[in-house]
Amino acid sequence: MLSGSTTTNHESLARGAKLKSIEEIKSAIEAAVPGVGVEVVPNSSPSVQHSLRVAPRSAIAVATFLRDDAELAFDFLSNVTGVDWPDKEVSEKVKVTRLARKIVDGVEQEVEETVDETRKRVEPGYLETVYHLYSVAKKHGPVVLRMRTVNRTDQVELPSLTPIWRSAELQEREIFDLYGIEFKGHPDLRRILMWDGFKDHPMRKDYVEPDDYEYEPTAHDQVLARAQAHRAAKTAR
C-alpha cells in the first residue's frame, strides 16, 4: 500500500503527449480556482516525482479541475495511499541575550551577555493522503496530489475525492481503516480489512500490536525478543 508508482515523469513523457511541468500545472490550477491553496512538494530522489500539496478546503475544486480540464484530463485515479508522520522532536541552537551579574573592574555589575542555547520543540505530526492521477485519454501522468490533516489525534478529517474519482472509494476506506483519516463526503466510510469493533489503526507508527507470542518454538529476530519479553512478564506475574 505504501509503494508508489515507479514510473518517472520522463518515461511517461516519452510515451504520451507532453505533460505540463508541475509548476505549470500549479499555475493552471491557481488560474482556474481562485483562492486555492496549492504548493509544490519537491522530490529530490532519482524519481524526481514532485507532488502538489493541496489545502483540504480546496481539494474538491482542484480535483474537479484536474479531471475536467481539456488539456490535463486526469480521468484515472490509480492509487490512493496514506502516510503517518508522527510528532517530531527538533532541537535547534538559539542565541539568547540575558542579564548576568559579573565582576567587572572589581565592581559587581549587571552585564548583558549572549549565550548559545539548545532548545527542543516538538513539531506536531499529521496524517497525509497521496493520490496518483493518470490520464488515459491523454496518455500522461502521474501527477501526485497530497493532503494533510491538522494533527493525528482529533482533527483527522479530509475531504473525500470519491465523488470525483469513483475508484477512490475502497482505497479511502482502507486508509480510514488503517490510518484513521476520516473522509468527509465518502458515501460508505466503514472499515474494510479489520472488523467493525476494532479500535486501532494498524498502519500508524505508534500502533501497538497484540501480544500473542506465548508459544514460539522457532522464534527469531524481532519475534524472539517479543516472545522473551512476553515470557519475562508472565514469570514476573
Binding site: 472488523w195 469493533g197 497484540p210 500473542d212 506465548e214 508459544y215
Partner: protein, 206 residues
C-alpha cells in the same frame, strides 16, 4: 486374528473382518471435504481434485458446499483474525465424525504473516487439527499424502475404550467456542481445550 490366516482364508473364498475394520473402512473411503478455500493454498487444493492429481482415487471427490454434509475441513490458506470466527463456526456446524487438515504454512502457524497483527497464528488455536501440512503452498502430492495420513489415522481408530474418537464419546466436547472479535484482538486468543500450550517453567498460559 493372524494376518496370514486371514489372507489364506481369503484365497479360499472366506472373508473375515471385524466390525471395527469394516466401520473404519467405510468412513475412510468416502471422506467428503467441505468446499471452501481461504487463500492461494486453495488453488493447490482445487488442482488436487482435478484430473491430473485426481483426489477421487481416494474417495474424496465430493466437495460439499454445506458444512452439514461434509466430513473433512481442509483449512487451505491464511486464516485472518477477521475470518477465524467464521472458520470455527463452520467447523461447529459440521456433523461428527469430522476431521481437519490444516494446509500450508499459514494455516498451521501463521506462515509469513506470523509477525503481523491480523493473521491467526495457526487454526489449531481454536479447533483440533488431525493433519498439518507444511509448505507455501504445499504441492498437490502433499495434500494427497496428508489425506492418506488421515485415512491411516481413521483406520487405526478403536471404536471402544478410552482412546475412542470424539464422535463415539457421549461426554466429549462437541462445540468449540467461537472467538469474539475484540477491540484489539480475538478474545480469547486461543481455546485452552485444544491449545494447552506449555511454556517451559510457566505452565499453561493464564
Amino acid at each position: 486374528m493372524d494376518q496370514n490366516l486371514k489372507i489364506e482364508l481369503g484365497k479360499q473364498g472366506v472373508f473375515v473382518t471385524t466390525i471395527q475394520e469394516l466401520y473404519n473402512w467405510g468412513r475412510r473411503s468416502s471422506v467428503w471435504p467441505m468446499q471452501f478455500g481461504l487463500a492461494c493454498c486453495a488453488i493447490e487444493m482445487i488442482a488436487t481434485t482435478m484430473a491430473r492429481y485426481d483426489m477421487a482415487r481416494f474417495g474424496a471427490e465430493v466437495f460439499r458446499p454445506s458444512p452439514r454434509q461434509a466430513d473433512l475441513m481442509i483449512v487451505s490458506g491464511t486464516v485472518t483474525k477477521k475470518m477465524a470466527p467464521q472458520v470455527v463456526r463452520l467447523y461447529n456446524q459440521m456433523a461428527e465424525p469430522r476431521y481437519v487438515i490444516a494446509m500450508g504454512a499459514c494455516a498451521i502457524s501463521g506462515g509469513p504473516f506470523k509477525q503481523g497483527y491480523n493473521v491467526l497464528k495457526g487454526i489449531d488455536r481454536y479447533i483440533p487439527v488431525d493433519v498439518h501440512i507444511p509448505g507455501c503452498p504445499p504441492r498437490p502430492e502433499a495434500l494427497l499424502q496428508a489425506f492418506i495420513t488421515l485415512q491411516k489415522k481413521i483406520d487405526g481408530q478403536h471404536l471402544t475404550g478410552e482412546d475412542r474418537p470424539r464422535f463415539l464419546d457421549a461426554g466429549a466436547q462437541g462445540e468449540f467456542p467461537v472467538p469474539e472479535q475484540g477491540e484489539h484482538d480475538l478474545e480469547p486468543t486461543s481455546n485452552q481445550g485444544v491449545w494447552p500450550v506449555q511454556i517451559q517453567g510457566l505452565g499453561t498460559r493464564d
